[in-house]
């Protein structure tokens, strides 16, 4: 989970509050009108999407580069990312819940998360796409579902992990209070687990959706063996513009993308963060509070309130009643007989079938691997080494500039006020969208794909480190800094005894995330279509991408396995011990 620091909008908060006070009397009607307008817009959107999806599969979509096509493309892309996000959220909550509550499945599911997180999006591509197209051969919805599932695979894992670890870290006494109050699982989920995990889920949602934008280009336009998949959308627009070397279209596309990202930030994430403040598990009221006018609108709309009163409230009332009845029945029953043997048998049969299936599929996959030739194998290994170097170089560069800058921002509230919103906007622009521009410039300057790919990894992942360092620097207690000042510490002393140990846990968190992100980014960074030309360099990411393009599944499988192995190994061998060290030695007790 990434501990992005809360934005410093407390100054703005007061202003909004004052405005809200002044407008209080006239607002409700306006708010209801706003809600009604939003409702109508949603309805039209649904109709439009349904019409397009249910239409026949269009064999070859030509991506228009006219700016006039942009609104529709942008709309399609937003819907894709939004749907993928909703599915991710539901899946993440379900997965995290089961993993946290089932003692038997827990180790398996956590390891699964670890591995899935390390598998790049493109490796899911063939399986997902072929399955979806086979499911809906004649409708556009098949390809669309495939694209959405692809985005989903890039978004879901960190959210699932966040929710899992939230449930796991619920203080013992809160859990006991819920038990002693006879909470049903349903009530426990809604009144304890979801609220407790809300903040983590919101921050991880932001990271996930940013990741969705990052891989949008890869998900909307790709070649799979002999088939060329193109979906109308912002990503495919940008990619087409890049390969046609159409600068004007690229600028248009980028502008629209940044506009959408900023709008989503303002309209969804700011209110979500302001709302999630409510779930902060703190004993005292914190100083800073982000506020959001939109949240105010939603919570104060009379229409929404009465809707809730008349639908949700009676519904939940009924659920609680029936759950309580079930509980008393269960107690009455347990005093009689114990569970029947039949369900036990059934469970074993299901488990056996499941294990059998897994063994069969795994052996099939291994058989596929046997087809890999020796030179191919060595190429993959060489690529792994090259990508490993690249990831670490980009991490080192990122650390080099983000640590001093982050500490400076964290120590200086005035600087933070200016720099942080800027950094957040910069971070929200997906590096992939900028990539064609950078690549073209680099090639003109004589740099190669190798440098470009490091640069892309850097742009994509440095923000994780920066934000965490800022948060870490802010978390260093001021009395520690005062001690350093009082004893006239030299600069070196100050860094060695106060600053570096202070930010260490945060730095590690940022580096773990950045490292994972850099590995994933390699599939785009090392292999790129530009001007109908394929630019590529030696690397594992390039192997995966080209294998997808050529439909060489055995190679794709091998490189994916190698990448997952490397990421998981590095996590286990390097990051986890460091993380433990930061938890024990460098933890600043509040």
């Amino acid at each position: 989970m990434i501990g992005l620091p809360g934005s410093l909008s407390s100054i703005r908060g007061r202003e909004t509050l004052a405005r809200a006070q002044a407008l209080k009397r006239t607002w409700p009607v306006v708010m209801d009108l706003c809600i009604a307008a939003i409702g109508l817009a949603c309805f039209y959107g649904v109709v439009r999407i349904a019409h397009y999806w249910m239409g026949h599969a269009e064999p070859e979509i030509v991506i228009s580069l006219s700016p006039r096509a942009l609104p529709l493309y942008a709309f399609y892309s937003v819907v894709r990312i939004g749907l993928a996000y909703v599915v991710s959220l539901l899946f993440a909550v379900g997965y995290g819940y089961v993993a946290a509550h089932s003692r038997r499945l827990e180790p398996l599911m956590v390891a699964g998360l670890d591995i899935c997180q390390s598998i790049p999006v493109l490796s899911f591509l063939p399986g997902v796409m072929l399955a979806m197209v086979a499911l809906f051969p004649t409708r556009q919805v098949g390809v669309e579902m495939g694209a959405i599932l692809l985005i989903f695979t890039g978004e879901v894992w960190n959210m699932a992990f966040s929710f899992y670890s939230s449930i796991k870290s619920i203080p013992r006494e809160l859990n006991e209070a819920a038990t002693i109050c006879h909470f049903s699982r349903w009530q426990r989920l809604w009144q304890l687990e979801l609220p407790y995990g809300a903040i983590g889920l919101v921050w991880n949602s932001m990271v996930s959706v940013a990741g969705g934008w990052f891989f949008l280009m890869a998900c909307e336009m790709f070649v799979l063996g002999s088939r060329d998949f193109r979906l109308p959308g912002l990503g495919s627009y940008l990619q087409t513009a890049a390969s046609n070397n159409d600068t004007r279209a690229m600028v248009w596309g980028l502008a629209v993308m940044i506009g959408i990202i900023v709008a989503i930030d303002q309209l969804i994430w700011r209110p979500a963060i302001a709302w999630s403040n409510k779930f902060k598990f703190e004993q005292v009221e914190g100083g800073t509070h982000s506020r959001s006018p939109l949240l105010h609108l939603l919570t104060h709309s009379g229409a929404l309130q009465s809707l809730r009163r008349h639908t949700l409230a009676p519904m939940s009332e009924k659920i609680y009643c029936s759950l309580a009845e079930r509980r008393t029945r269960r107690i009455a029953r347990t005093q009689g007989a114990t569970g029947s043997a039949a369900t036990g048998w059934l469970r074993w049969v299901v488990i056996a079938i499941f294990i059998g299936g897994v063994i069969y599929l795994a052996s099939e996959a291994l058989a596929l691997l046997r087809e890999v030739s020796k030179p191919q194998f060595w190429a993959v290994m060489r690529g792994a080494g090259a990508t490993f170097l690249r990831v670490n170089v980009s991490l080192a560069i990122a650390a080099c500039w983000t640590i001093p800058v982050g500490v400076a921002i964290g120590f200086n509230p005035r600087l933070a006020r200016i720099a942080q919103p800027l950094a957040q906007i910069a971070a929200s622009v997906p590096a992939t969208a900028l990539f064609p521009v950078i690549l073209l410039a680099l090639i003109r300057m004589g740099g190669g794909m190798g440098i470009a790919s490091i640069l892309l990894m850097l742009i994509g992942t440095q923000w994780y480190i920066l934000f965490n360092v800022i948060a870490g620097a802010m978390a260093i207690p001021s009395d520690l800094r005062e001690v350093a000042q009082l004893f006239h510490f030299t600069v070196v002393q100050r860094w060695r005894t106060v600053i570096l140990p202070g930010i260490f846990p945060f730095l590690i968190t940022g580096m773990v995330t950045a490292s994972g992100g850099a590995w994933n980014a390699s599939i785009i960074a090392e292999y790129f279509h530009l001007n109908n030309r394929t630019m590529q360099t030696v690397g594992l990411g390039a192997q995966i991408s080209s294998a997808t393009d050529d439909g060489q599944f055995q190679l794709l499988l091998l490189s994916t396995v190698v990448m997952a192995l490397m990421v998981v190994t590095i996590n286990r061998m390097v990051w986890r011990p460091l993380f433990r060290l930061s938890e024990t030695r460098f933890k600043l007790e509040g």
């Binding site: 203080p171 109050c181 009144q191 779930f279 703190e282 009845e325 005093q335």
Partner: protein
């Protein structure tokens, strides 16, 4: 307390251990038996690591013992519909729910309908003094108020047994003292239908202040070292000798973990009704007590002592006996120099003359040993006459000759006021008050 009643919770040979990969296991709690019966406040004391909290969790069914069984009304706890609540050290409130929603949560879980929920919640919030805080969030409240929410949430389901896991240790001293006495009052006046209270604490004084029974645990592994009843009358004062003796005793048990627990001090020994000590009767007239209580009542129920003395132009030395008397009778609580009127004190101040006399009589027999003894002695004798000398000799052991005379004088004045007995000055003996002996003509003469 009734004997031979079935316990609400009974633990039979419960123990807790954690299996280690290497054969030896870590024993947290050695097998022990324990019962919680109706009408008791049980305090569980012990050094850290003696498994106090673990034991509490096993008794509530939150944690399953490694061996042995816990019974709830003689049914295994796992299958019974256990009606207990826990008040936690950390409050364990849900910070995203308002006070009202926090208290509502356990009722919702029981499927209670909304109107009934509201009624119960408002009643309990009123009881614990949280009226008007319904819509506040826990983080907006002070520690003491938050623990009140904790109590409200625990009590709203009307638990049969209220468990408390160091409920006051996260609070500052004064707040803790305040909450303790309020809880004790709810318990003693039966405002809450709770039948037993089980308190885990590391604070010896807290245990002695509240508990009817104290269990001291030892560690490595956790085991019961001593288990005894406390028969001191409420409200208990830290200044009483019996109180400090008991605290010293427990302290000794705790600091000598290896030694066999020493004998209980005689004064508080549970079963063989101990010879109790006479309280020092303050030399105040009942009328003075009534006047003081009216003053405090009219001052909003609390009065700073020095302000009171100032306002009345009294010497504090003259005021103190009256205050002590009111305190002894349970009409007034004094802490940190502030006098606070108790509910029974308010009743007294508000009552008519005959009502006052009845209240005074009740308080005097319940709380003043000497008066109680005199009444009992008069009743026991066939001629309902007891010589003053009897009590003179007993008081002599504790007080100086001079003080003994003063004590008896005060006792006579209080006993007459309460119509507990009368005093025949010519024969120097206590006799029944007039209304109890209708056939006799009054021969009582008053002493000045």
């Amino acid at each position: 307390m009734k004997s031979m009643q079935t316990p609400i919770i009974r633990a039979e040979r419960v123990e807790k251990y954690y299996a280690q990969p290497s054969e030896n296991r870590i024993q947290v709690i050695a097998p022990m038996d324990l019962e919680i019966v109706e009408g008791q406040i049980v305090a569980l004391l012990g050094p850290s690591g003696s498994g106090k909290s673990t034991l509490l969790r096993m008794l509530t069914g939150l944690s399953v013992p490694s061996a042995g069984q816990v019974y709830w009304h003689e049914k295994p706890v796992a299958t019974a519909d256990v009606n207990v609540s826990i008040v936690f050290q950390s409050f364990a409130l849900f910070p995203w729910l308002t006070v009202l929603e926090n208290v509502e949560a356990p009722l919702k879980a029981r499927g209670m309908e909304e109107a009934e929920r509201r009624r119960r919640i408002l009643k309990i919030l009123d009881t614990v003094g949280l009226d008007g805080f319904q819509t506040a969030y826990p983080k907006e409240l002070s520690g003491g108020m938050r623990q009140r929410v904790g109590f409200a949430r625990a009590l709203v389901v009307e638990p049969e047994v209220l468990f408390m896991d160091e409920p006051f240790s996260a609070l500052d001293v004064l707040t803790a003292e305040n909450l303790r006495s309020e809880l004790l009052e709810l318990w003693q006046k039966k405002t809450i239908p709770t039948k037993a209270i089980f308190l885990v604490t590391h604070n010896i004084e807290e245990a002695v202040l509240l508990a009817d029974r104290i269990i001291v645990l030892g560690r490595n592994p956790g085991r019961i070292r001593t288990d005894f009843c406390v028969n001191l009358v409420h409200p208990r004062s830290r200044k009483e000798d019996a109180f400090s003796q008991l605290v010293d005793y427990i302290y000794k048990v705790l600091t000598e973990p290896e030694a066999q627990p020493p004998e209980l001090p005689q004064t508080i020994h549970g079963d063989a009704r101990p010879p109790r000590k006479y309280q020092m009767l303050p030399h105040a007239r009942p009328g003075g007590v009534a006047g003081l209580l009216e003053l405090v009542r009219d001052h909003g129920g609390r009065y700073d002592m020095y302000r009171l003395a100032d306002d009345l132009l009294f010497e504090i030395d003259h005021l103190l006996p009256i205050v002590d008397a009111a305190q002894l009778l349970g009409f007034l609580n004094v802490s940190e120099g502030t006098a606070v009127i108790t509910p029974s004190g308010t009743d007294y101040a508000n009552a008519e003359i005959s009502g006052r006399r009845d209240l005074f009589r009740e308080a005097a027999t319940n709380r003043v040993l000497l008066l109680d003894q005199i009444v009992r002695a008069i009743k026991a004798k066939s001629d309902h006459t007891v010589s003053e000398d009897l009590f003179h000799d007993m008081l002599d052991e504790q007080f100086t000759e001079e003080e003994t005379v003063l004590q008896l004088e005060t006792a006579v004045s209080w006993g007459r006021h309460a119509q507990l007995f009368d005093f025949d000055a010519s024969r120097r003996c206590f006799i029944q008050p007039e209304k109890w002996r209708p056939q006799e003509t009054s021969s009582a003469e008053s002493v000045a």
